[in-house]
Amino acid sequence: MSASAFSHKPHTGRQAASATSRRSFPLTPYLFLTPYFLLTIVFFLYPLFYATILSFYQTNGPTRKVFVGLANFRFILSDPDFHIALRNTLLYTILSVTTQVPVALALALLLNARRDKLKSFFRLAVFAPNLVGSIFVGILFSVLFVPRYGLVNRTLQSLTHHGLLIAWLNEPSLIMPALLLASLWMYVGFNMIYFLAALQSIDASLIEAARIDGATPIKVFWHVTLPSIRPVTTFVVVMGTIGSLQLFELPYAMLRGFGPKNAALTIVGYLYQYAFQSGDLGTGAAVGWILTLLILGASLLQLRFLNRGQS
């Protein structure tokens, strides 16, 4: 998907490739892509087709299938629970992307500076949460966020003399902050690595030249560093958005459900609830389609916006 971010830019590789291919056997690339084609047909296109058909039906058990037309879609779009799920998902996506990106970039800048003996330790420290799966992180944080005995509450208490009794996972208004904290902790390391990779590939002579011209560090950052890492920023934003819109495991494990007043209900959670907890696969499939359109729209919008101004 990195290509999604960059395909709008012409690159040198492509012209060279076109020169090669004209003389090569035309069958080879298809042959190399055959495993992909096969798997996609069996495990992607077919189930997708099946799910599309299902979304127009109400189903139950092996024999009962009733065609309901657009009723599933109509119900979802008018269901207050879906509105909550949509609101939560969008809010989470916006807040998590806008906090992740600057924090990850700041950490990357902090860790990028020259030779450090401790650099690899710090890198590991920041990346460490990624070694733990989202189910573990969810369960872990459900323990850390507990009133009176949880690590978060105890730390807050010893820092500020307040907060020992905050019921993070029991107050609808506090669930989103708790979720954002947990996901920041979990994902910021990976995004930092992307930025770190980008920072290290910046041509050092560019920065040196700007310094010699007397640019302040802030100016260098703004005019040299930021433009150079733009493709990676696009990549991190788009990937972060896609991932956030599909959020499910983390809140589900953290709250063992969807939280009070559905404060942790996401769109995929809503889908899961219908498809698997009430066995209504048709409604589940319809939700899936709505989500897909949403993600597609968001990604296209972001790519257009973020690639604007690039030649």
Binding site: S7, G13, S21, F32, L124, V126, V132
Partner: protein, 306 residues
């Protein structure tokens, strides 16, 4: 003021006299301070985890980290959680010990990494180094396919897996994930800058197209291989929903599935769960430590350079 507040304040003030001696030194000091601060926040849950697993369940929540030194004893700090965790459980497949789940997880993660690595790089190579009708369409389709959440396809895929007779086999997990679209794109990016002369030279030498890919081109993107290995390994190691649905026999289950059972609705053994989590972190941690440099340089060549 609390002791914690005092310590933080003292550390910040300490930088000021250093600034008098050398501005550069004090910048370095604050940079380190910031890094340590970040590291402490990131590692605090791990520190808690380390302490939690050696505490007896009786005092699990009595102290944030460890009890005061005078209370240290066999009844407060012990390895009971590990003992309970590693004890073989009777199942219909005979007694199964925790090591079995580790072995299963290791196998699934490493096998799926190897398979995905091969097929994804092969597809990525085709897209980067050839020009053919339908290429753009395939790329657009791949991009669009990433926007569809896996849960949507779970129920229909269940049917497919069932009719193929793959329920309760590792095929049900290895085959559908054999090509990662994300990996295809990473490798495509990595292959783009590889000079075409190398491929041409291979053809002149009479190498088959597959040989050119495997022996001439693939070794050139070694850092990306390293980076992708880590990404793929982590993804498979921590995957939960698919193994939870497709695997059945107790002796085939993976770590996340089995650990999740320790915190079910009717029984919650947090100490044992946390001990298992700690063991589950080790393999990917070793991998990351070994691969850090390749990981970052792999992403540098892959995602950034154009």
């Amino acid at each position: 003021m609390t002791p914690l507040q005092l310590t933080i304040l003292a550390l910040i003030i300490l930088g000021l006299p250093i600034a008098v001696i050398s501005a550069r030194l004090s910048r370095g000091y604050y940079r380190y301070l910031a890094m340590i601060f970040v590291a402490v926040i990131m590692l605090l849950p791990f520190a808690w985890l380390f302490c939690a697993v050696i505490k007896d369940k009786d005092i699990l929540n009595a102290y944030t980290f460890l009890p005061p030194f005078r209370d240290w004893s066999k009844t407060t700090l012990n390895l009971n959680n590990f003992r309970d965790l590693l004890q073989p459980h009777a199942t219909m497949q005979g007694p199964v010990s925790f090591w079995r789940y580790i072995l299963n997880s290791l196998f699934l993660a490493s096998a799926s990494t190897t398979i995905t690595l091969f097929f994804s790089s092969l597809s990525g190579y085709a897209l980067a180094k050839f020009r053919f009708p339908g290429q753009r369409l395939i790329m657009t389709f791949m991009l669009a396919s990433m926007t569809i959440p896996g849960v949507v396809l779970l129920a229909p895929n269940f049917e497919t897996i069932y009719h193929l007779g793959w329920m309760d086999t590792y095929k049900s997990l290895l085959v559908p994930g054999a090509v990662s679209v994300f990996g295809v794109f990473l490798f495509r990016q990595a292959f783009l800058p590889v000079p075409d002369e190398i491929i041409e030279a291979g053809r002149i030498d009479g190498c088959s197209e597959f040989r050119i890919y495997l022996t001439l081109v693939l070794p050139l993107v070694r850092p990306m291989i390293g980076a992708f290995c880590l990404i793929a390994f982590l993804g498979s190691w921590n995957s939960f929903i698919a193994p939870n649905v497709f695997l059945q026999s107790q002796d085939k289950l993976t770590l996340p599935v089995i650990l999740n059972q320790y915190v079910g609705e009717y029984q919650q053994q947090y100490g044992v769960f946390l001990a298992g989590t700690l063991l589950a972190i080790l393999p990917p941690a070793i991998l990351f430590f070994a691969l850090q440099r390749e990981f970052i340089s792999g992403l540098t060549t892959g995602a950034v350079k154009q």
